[in-house]
């Protein structure tokens, strides 16, 4: 709790307390905490002198501002047409099989969450996915197995990509 407060303090110092700073502040919290807790949203509202409902309404509008607890590594696989045509489902099944979770779920150890997302803008290198903010393209079941093994091996956390 204290850590979030400190984080919000730093972010408001950096971006200011205007309403137009709201998105950068929300993004800053998501980057550190992986999601926006109700507590964080209430505290941001307090810091910017806004109704908490306004902060909640804004945050929940954006698909990259998670408001449910997410794993340390958030996998977003593109489900738009070209990725679907180029074998997204096989890649998705491979991920589900390796991590033993379905779309929308988080591994019990809190390391991985799996989501589908709309067009990532890599249709010429389909299928594509994001793990946090790293892009992986031209995926095949073999390739995604290799990528995830890399993450599983380092899941101690030294090489966290989300800074």
């Amino acid at each position: 709790m204290v850590a979030v407060l400190e984080l919000i303090d730093n972010l408001t110092d950096q971006y200011g307390r205007d309403r137009s700073s709201l998105l950068p502040i929300l993004q800053g919290v998501v980057q550190q905490e992986n999601y926006l807790s109700e507590y964080a949203m209430i505290e941001i509202a307090r810091a910017l002198n806004l109704p908490a409902a306004e902060v909640y309404g804004t945050a929940t509008f954006y698909s990259f501002l998670e408001y449910k607890k997410m794993g340390k590594y958030l996998i977003r696989i593109c489900k738009t047409i070209t990725c679907s045509m180029k074998g997204k489902n096989q890649v998705l099944m491979t991920i589900e099989d390796m991590l033993k979770i379905k779309v929308g779920e988080t591994t019990p150890d809190g390391m991985f969450s799996l989501l589908q997302t709309n067009c990532l803008g890599f249709c010429h290198m389909a299928p594509a996915m994001l793990i946090n903010f790293d892009v992986y393209t031209d995926l095949t079941p073999e390739k995604v197995r290799e990528i995830l093994s890399g993450y599983l091996n380092r899941k101690g956390g030294v090489n966290d990509t989300r800074i």
């Binding site: 954006y62 803008g121 249709c123 010429h124 903010f133």
Partner: protein, 394 residues
Amino acid sequence: MTPGYDLKRVDFIFQNESDWKDILQKSLSRPPAELINELISSELKGRGGAGFPTGFKWKLAADELNLIKYIICNADEGEPGTFKDREILTKVPMKVLTAMAICGYVIGSHQAYIYLRGEYFFLQPALNKAILEFQATCQELNFDFRIKLFMGAGAYICGEETALFESMEGKRGEPRNKPPYPTSFGYLGKPTVINNVETLAHTYTIFKYGAKRFYDLGVQYSRGSKLFSVSGDTPKPGIYELELGMSLLDFVHDFGDGDTKAVQVGGASGFLVPQKRFAETTIGFQGKLTGISLPTGGSMMLFNSSRSMYNVLDNYLEFFREESCGQCTPCRVGCQQLLNGIKAVKRGEKNGQYLDKLLRLTETMQYTAKCGLGQSVANSFSSIVENFREEMIY
């Protein structure tokens, strides 16, 4: 390749940008009115898809008397099948920054923003570095101009200019009513020029070579070149700069896999063109030319005969249902009902005639939805359902 089917490839956008300081300095020494006229006579139209004449946009903002004005580069590239803007910002960011500064000089603005979609977060460090270098040069030239990067957070609708302003103001990305238009009432209520990344890159070409070099490309009403994001069933997916006004048949000869059944022009919000219409369809802005002319943000998705058009439409409708901002009823409920409707027809719970009801619903959405998102669902829906009706039912 059949002779006579050569597409005219162009290489302006990704051409070397090392002369950006010269272009900036040269432009800042010309009278603003002259720069505006250069743009107007080039007949450059916005490359994000809507096609508003860029020179007029700058002129409208320049004529505003407000002391505070803003420039925004719209890099919220979210249309399915589009990926050109990221390439521009990766390969030639200085062109875009230079164009923004020239616009600042022309309209009298000192503050600019790049609204970059959240999915492209990884571009941030390189882009911030480019901005720092650029601002140092502005300082050397005694030109007061600041550029900031603003990150989006995963909402397709924020590519709509007024939704983008709302988003930057810290609100839900819900489009505003127009008018007032951005050039008089934009970000924070101030006059704002908002241009697509590619549009700005083209202005660089125009300020570098003059309007004529640009105007000489393309056809009437559709001057210049355009980046195309080519994906789907093609042996060579990627980004290509082509002259506007090409025939879709020529395009398919060049990029198709020999079995092209249909091409979706302009992404999910665009039109599906079936094979029988390739010859009569040209790619450019609507004018008084004969035949069908389709404007596009540059998304070209090819489908071969192995693809089910039902799956394509289902995918697009799911996209729209999720990305509808939910503000106006025709779009919020319409997208849900269209998706439910085609699923019911496919399952046999509704007969084929139900598709006509759905077509009338898209017509209603076209007239009553508040913004381009809801209005354009009709494009892909009607062009797919009318041309591939049997695939929707069986």
